[in-house]
């Protein structure tokens, strides 16, 4: 089946980098699943089926991590021994935090008023800022190879992703 010691990029035949070609990743993912998916081993032994289940789950997890820019950045740093998730130093720039607090307040007001347009605007805003951060991260990680220095941007991106997720949930709640 698959070699669990290989890193996610290697698994899909990619070079570790923040910028990945989505189409190449998609193709490699589908190809790999064709080989390891439990459906291929439905008539196999218990051991084979268990192995297929674990391999396929691993490929799904790897794909999910690389497909999503936030998770991809976190994973890239983890390969360099930097764990952005369990760091004790979680400081963020004051102006960034203030901006996010403002957004959260606006979102709460918009939700209370059932203002879908305002929520959508906030979501678009958060996504635009994420995009700018991603561009900056591509420079830092793929260009300058500044892994430790990219920690702040990765934390900000993580923060924005959570905000976008919450805004999404608010929109969904307003719609239904």
């Amino acid at each position: 089946m698959i070699d669990f010691s290989r890193n996610y990029f290697d698994l899909f035949g990619l070079t570790p980098a923040f910028r990945v070609d989505g189409a190449v990743l998609d193709r490699a993912y589908r190809q790999l699943q064709t080989e390891v998916h439990p459906d291929r081993f439905a008539g196999g032994s218990d051991a084979q089926r268990r192995e297929a289940l674990q391999s396929s789950a691993r490929v799904n997890e790897a794909y999910r991590a690389l497909k999503n820019p936030v998770q991809r950045a976190q994973y890239l740093l983890r390969l360099r021994g930097i764990d952005t998730l369990s760091e004790t130093d979680t400081a963020l720039p004051r102006d960034f935090l203030e901006r996010q607090l403002e957004r959260r307040e606006e979102a709460a007001d918009a939700q209370a008023a059932g203002d879908l347009r305002a929520l959508s605007a906030l979501l678009a805003d958060a996504r635009a800022e994420s995009q700018a951060l991603e561009d900056a991260l591509a420079q830092l990680l793929d260009g300058a190879q500044e892994f430790a220095g990219a920690r702040m941007q990765v934390r900000e991106l993580t923060f924005l992703a959570k905000l976008a997720e919450d805004l999404d949930a608010m929109l969904a709640a307003c719609e239904s």
Binding site: Q33, H37, L53, Y63, E175, S176
Partner: protein, 621 residues
């Protein structure tokens, strides 16, 4: 008498014999079974050519009846005739907000609703197993032998409890289950393979009792579900109920008996179906007290009273698109599945939402079973011309754990591609804590009370440590059926801790085992019945043969012999009316014995008759 089975030339069993693989659509209103024959998925009809099996089980005076037979009794014997049992799968009585709609005698037991019937208290799993058994029998009769593997479909939005209940039912029915497959995904397989489609498609599946929406990307033989959503308690049944309520109001009826209620529900369904083709439908019924109902429902009123049900399907559609991060303009086609999508107002609403007419070139009743058959055929290992495709499905609802303060910590988010495994570490919150309660929940809400409780675990034997020092890794694993396994382990010390699993829903393994044992007892009854039926056929054959021989060649035997044969025949007829297959077999044997001489003499006579007039050279070969 020995019978030889001779294969037709060209039909000799191949050395690598094909597996008997079937797909089952276990629906709220109707069920179907399909298989792949000569490379083509086909629905297996009953002896009268009817493809559907009404999902109705009756516990009658003379045993279990299913399908149309059970349906005939639904108004006469409503409390023992179970319809729409799918709505009860994996549910407890408190979950059923519409319990009063069902005319059954509900029995509440922890986490699971049961129904009191003439044949005893039945769980929805047992009732479903009876349906599955009928479908299995139909398949076996058609395929000429036991089923090697089955794919059973479930609504995509079914939670873990509902899926597990379905799998338990299949197990109970003695079906070797290859996979639980999501209904809209099954439809997409049937549709996609048929049309060689590429692109992003939406499958809008409004069944008898459940609603699903799935967004899939079809690309070079890969069916990738991007997002799914739905409502596992919304379907055609609810439209029937609206009409039913309208009839009661329009005809100013007093509270109804269970029989009258079921009668009017049947009438309501007929009216609904009529309105797909006509502008109005008259509802005529005679109630038990002799009074009659005569009202006319127009299409306009029907559309009005069901408007919010149609609207209710659109929220899940919006959520699925949002989760897939797509717009309606990204959708290349919308496939309609489920009998309820025949309603014009549903088609109109879908067309309006997606800005394109939905695809309706496949039979919405059959497409799920056909897709399941294709998947079963592939999983069973039967090779087909274009079986080079792969299915990647998702889990519909997030899975998580209860944390401090009754909040949910999500471990696996909804719409994650399955199979998937995720581990998360937790720690103790008190010094010297040696046990940890783990509560597994499913759902999107923040508070545990708003989610579905799936299981409670207790991890014991954690060595006493200061608070926060223990590292307990909880692993969630969801398999390709969408079913969850949870394991918990204390990492740091290497001390093996034990887990006590206590399902908080459905049936425990012990219950399943007991039911299986019971079904073996029933199987013994079934075998008894089969042996008797076979002995009866044999008895009838030999009795008929003996009588005709006595009529034509009666002069060949003496009076003593004749009396012995008559005696044996009389004994055979007596046991023919009884239920003891062994006694009947013995009677057949004894008739065989006393007619032995007679048969030999008849043989001689017929041989000599045949020889008369033949020339000798025609005999020597």
């Amino acid at each position: 008498m020995a019978l030889f089975q001779i294969s037709e030339p060209g039909e000799t069993p191949a050395p690598h014999q094909r597996k008997r693989a079937i797909g089952i659509d276990l629906g709220t209103t109707n069920s179907l079974v399909a298989t792949v024959r000569n490379g083509l998925a086909v629905v297996l009809p009953d002896g009268e050519g009817r493809p559907l099996v009404p999902s109705i089980v009756r516990y009658g005076e003379h045993g279990v009846e299913t399908g149309y037979t059970a349906m005939a009794h639904q108004t006469g014997d409503p409390q023992n005739t179970i319809v729409s049992v799918k709505r009860l799968m994996g549910r407890g009585l408190p979950d059923l907000t519409d319990a009063r709609r069902f005319p059954y005698r509900f029995v509440d037991s922890p986490g699971i609703v049961r129904i009191g019937t003439r044949a005893g208290v039945k769980s929805p799993v047992e009732v479903s197993a009876d349906l599955l058994r009928a479908l299995r029998d139909r398949a076996e009769a058609s395929l000429g032998g036991p089923v090697d593997g089955a794919v059973v479909t479930v609504p995509a939005y079914f939670d873990d409890a509902q899926r597990q209940a379905t799998k338990d039912a299949a197990q109970l029915a003695g079906l070797p289950i290859l996979r639980l497959l999501n209904e809209p995904t099954a439809a997409a397989i049937a549709y996609g393979l048929d049309n060689a489609s590429e692109g992003v498609y939406a499958v809008y599946d409004l069944g008898g009792g459940t609603f699903d929406i799935s967004i899939l990307r079809l690309s070079r033989g890969v069916f990738e579900v991007l997002a799914t959503n739905g409502d596992s308690a919304l379907g055609g049944d609810d439209f029937d109920h609206r009409v039913f309520c309208w009839i009661i109001e329009a005809a100013r009826l007093a509270p109804l008996s269970p029989s009258d209620a079921r009668l009017l529900l049947v009438k309501a369904r007929e009216a609904k179906e009529n309105l797909s083709e006509h502008e109005s439908a008259s509802i005529l019924a005679k109630l038990a007290d002799g009074s009659s109902v005569n009202v006319t429902l127009t299409k306009a009123i029907f559309t009005e009273i069901t408007g919010n049900l149609v609207a209710k399907t659109m929220s899940p559609v919006r959520r699925a698109l949002r989760d897939a991060q797509l717009q309606t303009t990204d959708i290349k086609g919308v496939v309609l599945v489920g009998g309820a999508t025949r309603m014009p107002q549903v088609r109109r609403a879908v067309a309006e939402f997606f800005g394109q007419p939905p695809l309706t070139n496949l039979n919405p009743d059959e497409v799920v079973a056909l897709g399941a058959a294709v998947q079963a055929n592939k999983l069973a290992g039967n090779r087909e011309r274009d079986d080079d495709w792969l299915l990647l499905d998702v889990i519909p609802l997030s899975l998580g754990l209860e944390t401090m303060g009754g909040l949910t910590e999500k471990i696996i988010p909804r719409n994650s591609t399955i199979p998937i495994a995720r581990a998360q570490e937790f720690t103790t919150y008190k010094d010297g804590q040696t046990a940890m309660a783990i509560h597994v929940v499913q759902g999107e809400r923040e508070k545990v009370v708003d989610c579905r409780s799936l299981a409670r675990f207790e991890l014991r034997g954690i060595p006493p440590m200061v608070a926060g020092a223990a590292r307990i890794q909880v692993t969630f694993q969801v398999d390709a059926d969408g079913l969850l396994d949870v394991a918990a382990r204390e990492q740091g010390t290497g001390v093996e801790a034990t887990i006590a699993v206590k399902p908080s829903y459905g049936l425990s393994d012990g219950e399943i085992a007991k039911m299986l044992a019971d079904s073996f007892t029933h199987a013994a009854d079934d075998m008894q019945a089969r042996a008797l039926a076979e002995a009866q056929v044999e008895a009838d054959q030999i009795a008929a043969a003996t009588e005709s021989a006595l009529a034509t060649d009666g002069e060949l035997i003496g009076t003593h012999e004749r009396a012995a044969i008559d005696g044996a025949l009389a004994k055979l007829r007596r046991f023919r009316e009884g239920t003891d297959h062994r006694a009947l077999r013995a009677a057949v044997e004894s008739l065989n014995h006393v007619t032995g001489e007679f048969a030999a003499r008849r043989m001689d006579r017929s041989v000599s008759r045949a020889l008369t007039g033949k020339r000798v050279d025609a005999l020597s070969d």
